[in-house]
């Protein structure tokens, strides 16, 4: 769970963590596991947004989104757009969310990941190639389920208190 605000995270560390998250989103997995692969980049963006908006100020979300678009070869700019939206909402809610008990915090993350996926779904539809498979929403639930783990891990590796 994310709690603290007084942190000192340098850009190099943010970039390295984001690159690791990016590679984790395309790392080869068995196909059944692939369906429940959390969106690690979205989780990373959310974590840094909840930590401090001043730290990255949406540019991190935007850059990570563009990199994800380039990695996956999808419509250029779609992840960038969805990630800055959820990063903005997370930054606005950060003071409340950081005070939430774990379960409630996870519920907020679930809602934000759902928003991210819904915007992607919407953009796909507008662009003319909708993915209507219901299983795309599995990754949202998996991402929220991973949040306590990811947040705990990032609290150790990303932020020196």
């Amino acid at each position: 769970m994310i709690r603290r605000n007084r942190t000192n995270v340098g850009w190099p560390r943010i970039v390295v963590i984001t690159l690791v998250a990016l590679t984790a989103t395309v790392a080869p997995l068995p196909s059944w596991l692939e369906l429940v692969r959390p969106d690690f980049v979205a989780l990373t963006v959310l974590w840094f947004s909840l930590l401090s908006p001043r730290l990255t100020g949406l540019f991190h979300a935007w850059g990570a989104g563009l990199a994800l678009d380039a990695f996956r070869g999808v419509l250029f700019g779609q992840h960038a757009l969805t990630l800055i939206v959820i990063a903005y909402v997370a930054a606005k809610l950060r003071l409340q969310v950081r005070a939430f008990p774990p379960l409630q915090q996870t519920a907020v993350i679930l809602a934000l990941l759902w928003l991210n996926e819904f915007l992607l779904f919407w953009i796909d539809g507008v662009a003319g190639h909708p993915v209507t498979d219901w299983r795309r929403w599995l990754a949202v639930a998996a991402g929220a389920a991973c949040w306590p783990l990811i947040a705990g891990l990032y609290a150790r590796v990303a932020a020196r208190h």
Partner: protein
Amino acid sequence: MTPHEPNSRPLLLGGPALGLRLIVLALMSTGLMVADHRQHHLASIRDWLSAAAYPFQWAVQAPLAAWTSASESLATRSRIEADNVRLAADNFVLRLKLMRFDSLVQENQRLRAAGESTARVVQRTLVAEIVRVDLDPFRQRVLVSKGTRAGVFRGQAALDANGVYGQVTRAGPVSAEVILISDPEHAIPVQVNRTGARTIALGTGRSGMLSLPYLPRNADVVTGDLLVSSGLGGVYPPGYPVGKVTAVVHDPDQPLLAIEAEPLAGLDRDPEILLVWFDNAVVEPEPEPESAPAPDATPDAPTDAPGELPAGAAANTPQPAPADPPAPTPPGER
């Protein structure tokens, strides 16, 4: 971007400055999406970006590739012997098929000369390894390890040992993205081999299934029919196996048949694919550089043994020229 200290005054931030940034960045993202989707202005930038991403993508799958090659080199003697027996048997069968091949090629060329149509056959192939990264679980696309430096171009057809695999959608210098025939955005013109009826096979997003929604209810299609590429459109060489019909649904309320087919190419298990060059002069009499890369691509492209097939290797199925009237039925086949 944010030159100030991150933890100096957290409570005073996130106000209008953040909202303004959101609007500006959102507008920029939307602009990028429109430019990418509508005008394809970003093609060269996309190629450059995919080239930048390729080292990471390669690094991601490197451990798995190393493990695979290590386990292959440690394969047991009995497995190698079993493979050897199987390959020898395969080789025997293929040799039998080849015996009549030369004479059939001759005959085919004579017949085509009589009909004044050019045979469109694969002239050159290039083996490209599939980079094992998962681009998107709901889109059927793969990354391959050959790019424009090896002569790969956008729209190039890809085959595997069993049938048509897909086509190149993006070609970077050392890598290319291939869309599979089973991708929901892909459609391939096909022909029912038994009757010659032409239609279009659409991808469904599942690697084991194609859908053929455009045949009328009275069309002669049965389960087990072989679908071959018809060559219309000029992307795929004609006469290559695409799939086998697995289900034909007659719904009395619908004017069209609902047909399902299974792709013959090993879409989700191939370690490597063949990128092919063929002479599509029938479709485009004036070959332009992009669609007919063979003349300038031939000298620098690798001509070493494993990727090469002799010209004329494709002529195993007689194909009518696209200008012919539809549904020609080969005599004696029905």
